[in-house]
Assembly symmetry: C2
Homo-oligomer: 146 residues x 2
């Protein structure tokens, strides 16, 4: 509920690159999957989408891997949600079967509207860079398994 596993993997993957790539070398999917305890090939597919959307860059071959793009840190979380989960959820009625519509509200419409708008607002204003805390030596733990 709320968000898919894919979204969590995407965010953790991007944060991992943002945290470690500036140290020098590019980040390999193998290393990411190990450190984040995430299925390797599943993560690879998600990271490929990040590259297609210019949230990351990648190079193949020896010494290749993933690295930051010019816009990585400015990317809003909502962009990740769009990529991994899509936006339909935000204008589909909680009771299914119809587009959500304030002119024709279901009994739960205004309650859901408030909750969804709160989430939209939060994810629209928060960027990858906002979540990255390089000063915190335990940051890596906060995106991996305990």
């Amino acid at each position: 509920m709320f968000l898919s596993k894919s979204f969590g993997y995407a965010l953790r993957g991007v944060l991992y690159v943002a945290l470690l790539e500036p140290k020098g070398n590019k980040i390999k999917i193998e290393q990411m999957a190990d450190k984040l305890a995430v299925p390797r090939h599943f993560l690879a597919k998600i990271m490929k989408k990040m590259v297609q959307e210019d949230i990351l860059t990648s190079t193949k071959g020896p010494y290749g891997g993933f690295s930051l793009s010019p816009v990585t840190l400015q990317t809003k979380l909502l962009h990740l949600v769009k990529i991994t989960d899509g936006m339909e959820q935000f204008n589909t009625c909680v009771l299914s079967l119809r587009k959500c519509n304030s002119k024709n509200p279901c009994p739960l419409h205004f309650q859901m509207l408030q909750i969804r708008d709160g989430m939209l607002a939060e994810f629209s204003k928060t960027s990858i860079g906002d979540l990255l805390d390089k000063k915190n030596p335990d940051f890596i733990k906060s995106i991996s398994v305990i």
Copy 2:
């Protein structure tokens, strides 16, 4: 996202019974599925759970069907969520892989906490009776397809 289809079916089903049962006869699953445009047998399974949890009552055989229980109208939406979706989602980290925990927060923890607590608060205080608006002749439309 947010809530399953089962939850929507459950809420619409219970509201349908609450709206029409006081008129006299018990409500048959066939009629409900037709009017709500919901898969008949899938709805039947969900309504069975409602009965098991005392949110509705039912009787088999001729002239049988679903009817209100003493507590139907006081039932909180959160109870329906518990039955159809479970509560794990509310204390599972949005980044998967760990219990959500403010003492060991992931980068998105406090944002998600606010959103989830908002939803929990709303669903804890809102009851089936609160959503039922018998005065509104179009209420039936608001829980069915347009």
